[in-house]
């Protein structure tokens, strides 16, 4: 029996390993084609440059400190917008979860919210707030806050009945219920909202900078594009994409850990 169980376990493992291996192969072939494609001339050098050249350029720029102000600018906007979204979005989500009529009223509008091509508002905000960090903060906040609101509300609504019943059995006050039952139990779901909120703030910031700004990583890509600095452009692009993927991977890891704990 015990030998057999081991068999089953390795059979399961070998499938996961195989999935991982194929994923790695896909990614490696992507990386290799970005390297080899431009080198062999399959893709023109004016379209794409080899990955190693991008990396070299990026390291050079990072080392010389040229990128630092842009990184600071972008990060300030992302974290600023995200913080604003959390501070405003989580309480709004709690209110929405408590006041059912309000939720029903707003539901169709919340659903349609992300249908609006959001960045169209950016020119408007620029003409009101001027070209600085303010319109970027505003648009990233607006882009990120609603996903935080809806996920907080739906996360709290997903708390199993058993928890709330147990809380009531112990005669907890409303505040205690919120503090000791609802909030801890909803952590995973709310975290999903925060994760998406952060990713949206990042997208919002980069995209706004990209369209029209005076500094920041998004701006740098478009500036380098407009000035035919292809290596500089790809270096900035590589940095932004790596950052986005890294943030995403870390947050997704934390998230799945939280859900596992919630189930166990």
């Amino acid at each position: 029996m015990s030998e057999g169980t081991l068999d089953g376990a390795t059979a399961g493992l070998s499938r996961t390993t195989k999935v991982r291996a194929v994923q790695a192969a896909v990614l490696v072939s992507l990386v290799v084609s970005v390297e080899v494609g431009p080198r062999t001339g399959v893709v023109g050098r004016t379209t794409l440059i080899p990955l190693s050249v991008m990396v070299e350029e990026l390291l050079g720029l990072l080392g010389s400190g040229q990128l630092t102000p842009h990184i600071v600018q972008t990060f300030a906007a992302v974290f600023g917008a995200f913080a604003l979204a959390v501070v405003t979005g989580v309480p709004a989500g709690i209110v929405l979860w408590r006041v059912d009529t309000l939720k029903q009223v707003l539901d169709p509008y919340l659903l349609i919210y992300y249908a609006v091509p959001f960045f169209a508002f950016y020119p408007l905000l620029i003409s009101i707030l001027g070209l600085g960090i303010a319109p970027i903060l505003a648009i990233s906040w607006g882009f990120s806050v609603v996903i935080v609101v809806t996920n907080t509300a739906s996360g709290l609504a997903q708390i199993p009945e058993a928890y709330t019943a147990a809380g009531r059995d112990m005669n907890l006050s409303r505040w205690q219920m919120l503090r000791y039952v609802y909030l801890p139990a909803s952590v995973p779901y709310v975290f999903t909202g925060l994760k998406l909120g952060f990713v949206y703030a990042l997208i919002g910031t980069i995209a706004s900078e990209f369209i029209l700004a005076e500094s920041g990583l998004g701006w740098l890509i478009s500036y380098n594009y407009n000035n035919f600095d292809v290596p500089g452009m790809y270096a900035a692009m590589l940095l932004v994409i790596s950052l986005a993927l890294a943030v995403n991977t870390v947050l997704a890891r934390v998230e799945s850990r939280l859900y596992q704990r919630a189930v166990a």
């Binding site: 068999d7 089953g8 070998s14």
Partner: protein, 273 residues
């Protein structure tokens, strides 16, 4: 005449297919035209696999299936299949479900309507033509599934636990109706069930399968005279046959249960056992 000759089926398991599971091991059976044969056996012994091989949904590892001396090779229009549960299409109405196969095979609209109505009548669903399967009970859904198969006018019908999800009363009623339909269509029926009473109520012969690897342990003739009504089920002959089948099945079921419990387990060593 349906002939199964030395049918065997081995499934490869895992990614590398090195470990295998022998689902069928040398099945031989000849079924005469118009016969009703039931197959009983423990869960996991290969009954569904057997039907999938006969129906051409999967290839046998060894052996062959013939109808009137003509080899079956892939899904065949002479064979119709009825599956256990939830096989009706919820997005189609009853009549659209029944006419589905005809439509897919290019039968004209007028003829589809006529033949579908006829089958709906036969399975006792008149008046429900435009209902959705989601509004119907499990029993009624199985009638739809049966009508959908019958409308293709197959010579041989394979039914894999078609009433497995129904309650006992419904099962009795629909079983009696199946016998009527069988008489009226003259089709050959192969029927899998885990209900011994049902097997005895319905069939001319009953094949008992052994636990995996699936073989026929014994094939019993059922001489209880037809028509069999509800009173038949309380006769001594009926109960004797049920007892006899149960005795045959009991040891296999126990073996089958052990296999099921060790399922995740035995994957590796099946082939050489």
């Amino acid at each position: 005449m349906l002939e199964l000759r030395n049918l065997s089926k081995t499934y490869g398991l895992g990614d590398d297919r090195t470990s295998t599971i022998v689902a069928l091991d040398g099945i031989d059976l000849t079924v005469e035209e118009g016969e009703f044969v039931s197959i009983i056996g423990p869960t996991g012994c290969g009954k569904s696999t057997l039907f999938e091989v006969i129906g051409g949904l999967t290839d046998a590892t060894e052996g062959r299936v013939d109808i009137d001396g003509d080899r079956v090779d892939g899904p065949d229009e002479r064979i119709g299949m009825v599956f256990q549960d939830h096989s009706t299409f919820p997005w189609l109405s009853v009549i659209e479900n029944v006419a589905f196969g005809l439509r897919m095979n290019g039968v004209s609209k007028a003829e589809r309507r006529e033949r579908a109505h006829e089958m709906i009548d036969l399975v006792g669903l008149s008046g429900f033509e435009d209902a959705s399967p989601t509004e119907l009970s499990g029993g009624m859904n199985q009638r739809v599934a049966i009508a959908r198969t019958l409308v293709m006018d197959p010579d041989i019908i394979l039914m894999d636990e078609p009433f497995g999800a129904l309650d006992e009363q419904t099962r009795l009623i629909i079983g009696n109706e199946l016998l009527r339909i069988w008489r009226e269509t003259g089709a050959t029926i192969l029927f899998v069930t885990h209900n011994i009473n049902e097997a005895v109520q319905l069939s001319d012969r009953i094949a008992v399968m052994s636990a995996r690897p699936g073989r026929f342990k014994t094939i019993v003739d059922n001489d209880i005279p037809r028509p069999r009504d509800d009173d038949t089920m309380s006769t001594e002959a009926f109960n004797d046959l049920v007892q006899r089948l149960w005795t045959e099945l009991k040891s296999e079921s126990r073996k089958g249960m052990e296999q099921q419990e060790g399922r995740t387990v035995t994957a590796g060593s099946e082939a050489d056992s």
